[in-house]
């Protein structure tokens, strides 16, 4: 239990000392979503801005007005407005992969990582991360497909039951199992990513192997930490939606924007927390020890009040890379 706390508190401490990363990722998230929403915004303004009917969306939320708007020919196919948002969501994913090495480097650093070092880490690890993403994608997709197949078969069997709650119970139970397994896989590749960056490992296969070994070795600690942070994310989401519904007046667009964006900002924290946990774990367990060198006292020719002696101890764990 103490170890869990160490991982969680260690990870959180890294997040706390590098809050700027969350802020910049949030800015990136908002900016890309804004671009992605452009088509939708144009369409809704065109239909709603000069119509009195649209008032029914302000004081409350009349679903029929929304349905009618979606059905208007001038709104166009829903896909036309949703597709750009999906494209920008994918771009956010790629940019996350691009900037993540810098974040990991920053989390491992005991000092504020200079901008140059941040981007150097990003550039140096970009191709490695893409390779890791591909491998992770294949593994996770294969496992997810198999698990979903099993889930589907179980649900089909459950639907034959006269107990109406059984399909729901099976659905929830299998989703929980799938979540745990997929989280374990995520831990594996998080550790591999951390190893790639902090060990400056060009052979991603070795990092994948190391990630797997350590995930296996410390599955309980790591999974516990990841599950806790995911639960925190779920609580943040539910609390945010609750505040949005209960505390913000229906007509307050500004209030809704503040609460929703604050929720999204806070939602970024748990994932960065997990990254912090991975870095903490790496530094505690995966870093290759560097041999301690003893220096012979050096006599200084120049006169001095006191003889100079220097001993270099093992570097702080963050310098291991």
């Amino acid at each position: 239990m103490r170890e869990h706390q160490n991982l969680l508190s260690g990870g959180l401490s890294r997040v706390r000392h590098n809050k700027r990363y969350i802020f910049w990722f949030y800015v990136l998230n908002v900016a890309l979503a804004w671009f992605g929403a452009g088509a939708f915004n144009n369409q809704v303004h065109q239909i709603l801005d000069h119509s009195l009917l649209a008032d029914r969306l302000v004081n409350g939320f009349d679903l029929s007005v929304l349905y009618e708007m979606f059905g208007r020919p001038e709104f166009g196919p829903t896909l036309a407005s949703a597709a750009p948002a999906m494209h920008f969501a994918f771009l956010f994913l790629l940019l996350t992969a691009l900037f993540l090495p810098g974040v990991l480097q920053g989390y491992a650093s005991t000092y504020r990582l200079p901008r140059e070092d941040f981007f150097r880490a990003c550039g140096r690890n970009l191709w490695r991360f893409l390779r890791l993403m591909i491998v992770a994608g294949v593994v996770m997709a294969a496992v997810a497909a198999a698990l979903l197949g099993i889930r589907s078969a179980l649900l089909k069997a459950a639907e034959e039951s006269t107990n109406e709650l059984l399909p729901f119970s099976v659905s929830m139970a299998t989703l929980l199992v799938i979540f745990l397994i997929m989280t374990a896989l995520r831990i594996w590749f998080d550790l591999a990513q951390t190893d790639v960056v902090l060990s400056d490992q060009p052979a991603v296969g070795r990092s994948i192997g190391a990630g797997f070994r350590h995930t296996w070795r410390s599955l309980g600690r790591l999974l516990g930490s990841y599950v806790v942070s995911t639960i925190v994310a779920a609580i943040v989401l539910v609390a945010g939606l609750w505040a949005w519904m209960k505390l913000v007046p229906p007509a307050s667009v500004f209030g809704a924007a503040v609460v929703s964006q604050l929720t999204l900002l806070l939602l970024l924290i748990p994932r960065f927390w997990q990254r912090g946990v991975a870095v903490t774990y790496y530094l505690q367990n995966m870093v290759e020890p560097i041999g301690v060198q003893s220096f012979t006292p050096v006599s200084v020719v120049a006169p001095a009040k006191e003889p100079l002696t220097a001993t270099v101890t093992a570097p702080p764990e963050t310098q291991a890379s």
Binding site: V58, S161, N163, T174, G220
Partner: protein, 692 residues
Amino acid sequence: MKLRWVIVFLPVISVIAISIAVREHAARATAPQVTGKTTSLIKNINDRVPAPSNGAGDLAIPDTTLAINSATRMSQRVVHYEINAKYDASTHVVDASEVLTYHNLTGQALDHFPFHLYQNAFQPNSTFVREAKVADSHDTTYEEWDADDYGSEEIKSLIVVGQGDLTAQLQYIQPDDDNKDDKTVADVHLPKPIAPGEFVQFRIAFQTKFPETQARSGWKRDFVLGGQWFPKVGVWWHGAWNCHQYHATTEFFSDFGVYDVKLTLPPFEVVGASGIKVGEVSNADNTKTLTYHGDDIHDFAWTASPRYKVKEDVFQGQMGPVQMRILMQPAHWGQAERHAKILRESLEKFENWYGPYPYKTITLVDPEPASEAGGMEYPTFITGETSWWMPAGGYEPEVVVEHEFGHQYWYGMVATNEFEDAWMDEGINSYTEVKVLDSILGKNTSIMNLAGVTEGEREEQRLGYIRVADVDPIAEKAYDYYSFSSYGGITYGKTASVLLTLEGIIGEQTMQKAMRVYFMKYRFTHPTKEDFLRTIEEVSGRDLRWYFDHAIYGSQVMDYKVSKVESYPVNWYEQKRSVFQKDDNETLYRSSVWLERKEDFVMPVEVEIKFDNGEKVREHWDGVSRWTKFEYEKKAQVVSAEIDPEHQVHIDRNDFNNSYTVGANAKPARKLENYFMFVSQWISQALAWWAV
């Protein structure tokens, strides 16, 4: 054991445990086996029914009033069905004998009789399945449809009292199409015609095999809904037999009469049925036989499941007490009172607005989940629709129960032809559904009022219509619509919207009075569309043909638009004001408002023009020309113009362009933008969470 092994084994153990649980429940779900050998009723048919007489002169339709709160019969009784049926829960097969006494009130001799054999619709080459497969109109995935799931209805023998065994004379006919594989109508020619006023008695042995629920009939797990399960004679209507094939979009049509039905089932079944229960006996072969009686009804349905939980209540109706019997799924038991409440409220509204409910019972069935048995009406018997998780502000159970109860009036008693005039039961019922639910649950919240999100019935009906507005007229045979969505959107949605708009034309009170007169005048009959339309004209004292021609008989579409609004200073050429200069309220403006009729439905409309000094002006436009313009010279500018400011027109295809505000109000769009942004940002984050 180390923690990691526990974690690895946990999912495996979970999967195994879930599998075992599922298998156990699935095993329990198989239909209970009836012990003992099922006796063939067909063999013994002649032992069970009265011996045939040489003539039909001593036959009659019973004059009973056991099942109604009336001392005298309420309908002109044409048929008397006596059915003795045995249901095998393991094979979903009914073996039965049927004695049908028919009173020839047609005024002419009848030499042939057509019978509906509806369960034959559930076979691969039937007209029903052909249409349903193409239209994708039912939930059934026909590609996964097994032979075991097919339905069938076979007449084993048919004896006409005084005329002998005519089984060999039976032949399948297809009055609606050339599909020779369709066996949903069988016709028999009689050697001796039945004279006007005479009776004829058919003694039929039949076997019905229910399909896995299709079109609100059949079995699911250990549940069964016995709807359209026995050979039913057609209706002599307007000088000919009206006995259509079963189509994917059609329902039913039959004559009023008396039903005496014996159902023999396994002893553990909880049963609900049309009419009232008049007897129950346990049999030596470990079955029980329940006897039901119905007066002045035109169909008989029943249901059985070992797991129903029963709630009973009494509603004090205007003609006497009505026994409410509610059969709930165990997982929905917490919603029993909710079902009872909406049923009570619907009874009360219908009695107060349209007329008394004369039957002694109403049975509400909460059918097996994931079956195609929800949302169906039979005389004194309806099915609802809900799920184990139904939040208080989601009104699906209320909407379904109210709708199906409404059919007790618009189908059950005012028994229109559902094959040819589907709008007269589904559409009129959708209109009264809007009225009743609006009054109970609120005008804009009668479908949903959940977490600040609302939706009303009348808008729901209109939305159903505007998607298919220009495809079909209302006055169309149910099986002749362009598509299944057209059938639904026009029959239900357009009719409700047209009648709501009519309410705006003749007044709400007049419309309610017209509906009451229509119900009281035509209950227990088969009225036509003109009977209905004429009643409205008579009660309102207005010639409404201009409206009916467009709205009922035509497929014209309405779309009025405020196309342009302009205001400018009359002396615009004299001075140019700075944008920062405040208006002195003395400037004279010339304002113009253009209205446009974009489609071909012509109807007079009201327009309200608002000025920036708070003044409102009402205008009337007959809508005959394609556009019109209203002009004003005032010391005020127009801020907005709105067509139909009282929101009485429900058939306008585009409500957004019915108004125009000079200044843009970006708030509604910004609200939606905010939702869109939130969702897309959250999806981005979730994607990055798992994929990177």
